[in-house]
Symmetry: C2
Subunit: 322 residues, 2 copies
């Protein structure tokens, strides 16, 4: 198996001007799960002809896998500016450590760096990969826009929310799977199964993220607990609470949502309402549905060590704590 961390470490950010590339190096070194490149590589392994796994065929997937991770980190760098998030992966976000302009421009350069990696995809696959990558990137920006729109909307349904997170989070994971499969020679049906697997684990992943924002372990989560409540973010938990609440609980919830300040008391009070309405269990049930849909896709693929890994990953998603 290709070591994605090692490959990412070999990207050279020690270039001039330092002000442009040092924040990229900082962001790329800050860790993260490397989920997207790992998925692209595993998708490739799942469909590739057995005899080719150890050969150049897997190396062909690597530039695109790295492009997906660089792109993901670009979105985080810009999202942190837009969301005024001061902490990322347990350390200051780029705009907090440097400033907004640095995060904007270094983020722009990261997006370009992602396309430089896409340009390294082997000749017969580069155009199709570029097209898929463009569709993915558009989906992610549209998702971020819907997310920002929701802040100013009074009524957001759970369906609206699921459409938003499908674009903002799932599409990147789904295209990571599809691009990995495409470059490794997957059939159209296999590419579609890989895409759907990614889409549904992405949805499960994001709902889990909403849950962890409040119920996660502060030592391993890497962000402040209750941040979503602080900024009145319309998460799966809040929208479900709002849908399930009786008049009294709804009034109580709305009163807290009207305060733009945030303290421990607000987080505790809203959490108490969520607990009373059992919204965590609802979230976990929806997560499990999407996990099941994702797992069903794997039956359409060759059964090998890679598909087994994808099976385990989907199952483990529901028990992660960071």
């Amino acid at each position: 198996m290709i070591d994605i961390n090692k490959a990412l470490e070999q990207l050279d950010w020690s270039k001039d001007p330092k002000g442009l590339y040092e924040p990229i190096a900082y962001m790329m070194a800050s860790g993260g799960k490397r989920l997207r490149p790992m998925l692209a590589l595993t998708a490739a392994e799942a469909v590739i002809n057995e005899g080719l796994i150890s050969g150049n065929a897997m190396d062909d997937v690597l530039p695109a896998a790295m492009a997906l991770e660089v792109f993901h980190n670009f979105t985080l760098m810009h999202d942190d500016v837009m969301d005024r998030a001061a902490v990322r992966r347990g350390q200051p976000s780029v705009h907090a450590k440097w400033n907004d302009n640095t995060a904007i421009l270094s983020g722009d350069q990261m997006l370009i760096e992602a396309y430089k990696l896409i340009a390294k995809v082997p000749g017969d696959k580069v155009l199709k990969t570029l097209e898929l990558f463009n569709e993915m990137a558009t989906g992610v920006c549209e998702g971020q826009q819907y997310d920002m729109d929701f802040e100013h909307m009074n009524t957001v349904t759970i369906d609206d929310y699921l459409t938003m997170i499908e674009k903002k989070t799932s599409v990147l994971i789904a295209y990571a799977m599809k691009i990995g499969g495409l470059i490794a020679g997957a059939s159209n049906a296999q590419q579609e199964a890989l895409y759907q697997y990614g889409l549904h684990i992405g949805l499960a992943f994001q709902i889990q993220d909403d849950i962890l924002d409040l119920y996660g372990d502060p030592n391993t989560f890497g962000k402040a607990i209750g941040g979503d409540i602080c900024c009145n973010k319309k998460t799966f938990l809040l929208l479900t609470a709002y849908e399930k609440a009786d008049a009294e609980s709804k009034a109580e919830l709305l009163q807290w949502l009207m305060t733009s300040d945030c303290d421990e008391q607000k987080i505790a009070a809203v959490k108490e309402i969520f607990d009373r309405l059992n919204v965590r269990a609802v979230g976990e049930a929806v997560m499990e549905e999407h996990t099941a849909t994702a797992l069903a896709q794997l039956d359409k693929l060759p059964q090998n060590a890679a598909t087994e890994k994808l099976r385990l990953l989907a199952e483990q998603l529901t028990t992660r704590n960071n």
Copy 2:
């Protein structure tokens, strides 16, 4: 000749979410000289086999030409946020009309849209075009970083400045020429001549821009006159003044540079120092040198209506007033 404005108007920005695409439509409709796509198309015309000009060969260049204009507008949208510029082409800049987050995210999407247009370049040229486009985009970001770095540096030489504007402005024009030529089948030597022509008219263009910022006609320039002096921007005029000034003028200049506020008085006083030191004439002389170098490149190309147009353009650059 292909109508670049008509082609750009046909790009469809009436998509959802409106919050993402409306600022792009606004930016793209705000005009500008369409210099970069026009140059890409003219470069193609200059080198293309006479018999093919009216055929599909020119249509092949169009997506890349449009990509260059979309990219240029992306850089303006983000630069206006970074520079806190409230006016662009005589109307509110995107971040001023909407907000910073809108300008960041819609700008990101514009960069992606540029790559979508690059993906439409005919199959045998798409990879090389993508590589050139990536080099260009990197140069522009590096140039913007140097520009921002200069704000906080005490000593910037005129050479530093020329390196910066070469990246920030000229590289885009140079690659517009080269990409247009490449897609139209230019030889390597022709591509290099087209590139050098673009690089040098770009340098002349940027020095002219510095001059117009202070000496332009406020009715046609589209920006407030003296904006560069206001924000103590290290332009060709200021760096030349600083280099030419005697101790007394230097002290006077430094005193004005220490005020971060700006009013008519400051602009008039600094302009008076510039006039005394004759910096406008120095700028115009350097501009003319670069124009001459650009014109010399045209001798290496076929002599036809397109090269004649490029010759006129270089000559007219020195007399533009907006």
